[in-house]
């Protein structure tokens, strides 16, 4: 009996990962954040990263995937060139930055070559070939001769490295796997890049690139060792923040616009504050609490600044900046779905939008994509009136149209659960003098209000698998194919067994064949 009890606490042996057909390689353009992080990793945080470069555009819900499918405009090429010279000029104009970069003290071609070789290895995330180094060094040498200044010549060399496709794009073509004939894997150096952008959203540091050069990153032990090191580094916190920023489209908060005549709390700073609140919670849940991902939706822990505390009608935990606090149990608000970042972003400038809020939960949190409305359908809803005083009334009228109801029935019963929160995320009991009914249902689970809806989302069987899929796609940089579904399901099952710990899932995906192997290069 005792033996049986003891055995019951032992984790079951995990089944082997299913073998799936790996996705082919994709060329990934660095996102804005990756570009900026990489520049500062190369030269230091003092460099002001040029902001005027080709904008990011999401695909399949993620900016990193958008970077693989969206082409670069001719203007974008010029912008990268301008940005490269901007950075190079800053570095050479700063005694501190120049000293950190220029390791030799002879202003000649040999020194230029030494500097550019070292910088190129970091910038291109691999050693430059002799021919590549010759070409870059020649640019610096000729510019020195033409301009009569070694520093200006080196500036041209640095800019050449930074405007190169090998810096702006991640080129990961893989190699034949000597241990598995007929199969391909990412090279050890390519794995250093993949790990760096997955975990840190930045370029590999010296230790990681050295591990790549040593061939360590094609082994389980080598990857595990680096993932352990990387997760204990603060850059991993920045990495997970970037992932949540992309998954939840929090970057759209930069353009949050609310009608100031409707929302007295509206201000230009609310969007940035709201994003910081959500990212602080994600970072805390992942690293400090190392807790259950599903708690992201039901926790009463929050990170607030005075402005958000005012909107939430709770005491500010700090008079200056953000601090951790606990939301009251009787306040009706908890978790990410009670935050301004969700409630304000998934709303209109002058009103709430149960449809947008419900659609976000369906598509982003539960991975249940909805079809766009048919082109000939009138998507407008009735204006508030005596007959339709509340949003619920107006949407019910809208759903009397069968063409509208097909989709709205999937979104509105969820989104109406948030009607106690106005279009900025402030609490309200009434709308146009009528008491709000925030009840609804999510896939047959009835809920009386947003507090209970958070529990329903947490318990939804699609929540954790959707998160696993999104993180997998973020890591690999491509939209997963149907062929990869068994592997994602396997990761998801492990995620559940781990107690839904995000760090565990990061490790699992970093070690995954889906992250390390690739299909044939299309010619």
């Amino acid at each position: 009996m005792l033996l049986l009890l003891a055995c019951a606490t032992v984790d079951p042996v995990r089944e082997s990962a299913p073998v799936v057909e790996p996705a082919g390689p994709v060329l990934k353009r660095l996102t804005h954040a990756q570009y900026g992080n990489s520049i500062q990793s190369l030269f230091g945080d003092a460099v002001v990263v040029p902001d005027d470069i080709e904008p990011d555009a999401a695909s399949d819900g993620l900016l990193v995937i958008g970077g693989t499918v969206n082409s670069l405009s001719s203007l974008g090429v010029e912008q990268y060139e301008t940005a490269a010279f901007d950075v190079a000029d800053q570095v050479m104009a700063s005694d501190e930055l120049r000293t950190a970069l220029v390791s030799c003290d002879t202003a000649d071609d040999a020194c230029s070559r030494t500097v550019l070789q070292a910088l190129g290895r970091r910038a291109w995330r691999r050693p430059l070939s002799d021919a590549e180094l010759d070409r870059i060094a020649t640019i610096a040498s000729e510019a020195t001769a033409t301009l009569g200044s070694w520093d200006e010549g080196l500036t041209y060399g640095i800019a050449a490295l930074l405007e190169s496709p090998y810096f702006v794009y991640r080129v990961e073509l893989g190699e034949d796997d000597p241990d598995a004939p007929g199969e391909r894997r990412y090279t050890s150096l390519e794995m250093s890049t993949r790990l760096a952008y997955f975990l840190w959203n930045s370029t590999p540091d010296e230790e990681l690139i050295a591990a790549g050069e040593a061939g360590d990153l094609v082994t389980d032990a080598g990857i595990d060792a680096q993932v352990d090191r990387m997760l204990s580094d603060d850059r991993a916190r920045a990495g997970i923040r970037n992932f949540f920023n992309e998954m939840l489209t929090l970057y759209e908060l930069d353009d949050l616009s609310k009608d100031p005549t409707v929302y007295v709390h509206a201000s230009s700073s609310v969007g940035a504050s709201a994003r910081e609140e959500t990212l602080s919670l994600a970072e805390w849940l992942t690293f400090d609490d190392d807790g259950d991902y599903r708690d992201f939706f039901t926790t009463q822990t929050a990170f607030l600044d005075p402005k958000l505390a005012t909107i939430y009608r709770v005491p500010a935990p700090s008079m200056d900046g953000f601090a951790k606090t606990t939301l009251p149990a009787d306040g009706g608000r908890r978790g990410f779905l009670g935050e301004v970042s969700f409630l304000a972003l998934q709303a209109h400038p002058t009103s709430t939008s149960p449809t947008r809020r419900g659609k976000f939960i369906r598509e982003v949190l539960l991975c249940q994509p909805l079809s766009p409305p048919p082109a000939d359908v009138d998507t407008s809803i009735p204006e508030p009136s005596d007959g339709y005083p509340t949003m619920r009334d107006r949407l019910e009228e809208h759903m009397s149209n069968e063409g509208c109801a097909v989709c709205h029935v999937q979104t509105d019963p969820i989104g109406l659960g948030f009607e106690n929160f106005d279009g900025l995320g402030g609490w309200r009991d009434t709308e146009n003098g009528n008491t709000i009914d925030p009840s609804g249902d999510l896939d047959g689970v009835m809920f009386p209000d947003a507090w209970s809806l958070a529990s329903a989302v947490r318990a939804n069987s699609n929540l954790a698998p959707c998160f696993s899929r999104t993180l997998y796609q973020y890591a690999t940089g491509h939209a997963a194919s149907d062929a990869e579904d068994p592997l994602i399901d396997w990761h998801s099952a492990g995620f559940a067994d781990s107690g839904y710990r995000v760090q565990w899932l990061i490790r699992d995906i970093a070690a995954s064949s889906g992250f390390r192997r690739l299909g044939e290069v299309e010619q």
Binding site: T310, P315, S318, M319
Partner: protein, 283 residues
């Protein structure tokens, strides 16, 4: 000088005689978001308090013979002689008095808090009742957050002013969303036009009613010390004609705190306020 009447009323009463706390566990805190003078209305009435607990007719034996007002609700004996002084003051450089007061509130230099402690249940309803509430006046610091409507945002957090005296008025009752407190004894250091002054108010009274939207609307009254007012009006940067005018006005209107010779030494004043719910940061 212009902000003196307000500053007087920021200060603190002595703790109530009954030091045992009320039994409730909740705290409700408000900050005065607007402050106006209670003026004489067209019908000759003026809202306020019967501070000296007597009804004085012109030339009568109490209140130094200065005729009291009648409140719009019919209450007689209202002491608010500042309502008579104000129209005259407003013909001088003091005409922007109320905008200056509001500016001082909005920039955080005049944040008067109303703190209701040991409350049984939600006080912010028009029918709220609680037989025992610990009431205090205090001050807060910080730059208030102003909403897009130009008004202070509700439920913002302000820092408790731990330097300025805080008045614990003791136990009071809330009945039908209405609270009254009196006996406020006020001593407060204030800085006015660069001058550090110690101002005292005797017999201060306050009342408010909870409004349907949860805010408070009420009155705060007390007596301004004549000698201090004259001292303030005599500072270097006050026009000498204004000084003379203030001195004259006070001579004819002081109506409270008679000395042993029957000469009144204070001018009664009533302020009309609205207050919004806030939180106090105690850190």
């Amino acid at each position: 000088m212009l902000t003196l009447p307000l500053a007087l009323l920021l200060a603190c009463a002595q703790p109530g005689d009954d030091t045992a706390a009320c039994s409730g566990e909740k705290t409700s805190t408000y900050v005065m978001s607007t402050l106006l003078f209670s003026r004489e209305l067209d019908d000759g009435t003026s809202a306020g308090f019967n501070l000296d607990e007597s009804v004085t007719d012109a030339g009568g034996g109490t209140g130094c013979g200065i005729q009291d007002y009648t409140d719009p609700d019919g209450t007689t004996g209202i002491d608010n002689q500042f309502a008579k002084v104000l129209p005259v003051l407003e013909t001088t450089e003091a005409q922007a008095l109320e905008p200056l007061i509001q500016a001082a509130i909005d920039d955080g230099s005049l944040l008067i808090t109303l703190e209701l402690g040991n409350v049984d249940s939600d006080i912010a309803t028009t029918d709220a009742s609680d037989t025992c509430v610990d009431f205090a006046l205090g001050r807060a610091t910080g730059a208030p957050s102003i909403g897009t409507d130009g008004l202070m945002e509700w439920y913002q957090t302000l820092a408790r002013d731990t330097v300025s005296p805080r008045s614990e008025a003791g136990h009071v009752a809330v009945t039908g969303g209405r609270l009254e407190a009196d006996g406020l004894q006020v001593t407060l250091p204030v800085t006015i036009l660069g001058h550090e002054l110690l101002v005292t108010v005797l017999e201060g009274s306050l009342r408010f009613e909870v409004q349907p939207d949860g805010s408070l609307a009420g009155y705060l009254a007390g007596g301004l010390d004549q000698a201090q007012l004259i001292e303030l009006a005599s500072t270097d940067n006050i026009d000498s004609e204004v000084t003379a005018l203030v001195s004259s006005l006070l001579d004819y209107n002081v109506d409270m705190a008679p000395n042993d010779y029957g000469t009144c030494q204070q001018l009664s004043i009533t302020l009309q306020f609205t207050a919004i719910p806030i939180f106090l940061f105690e850190g």
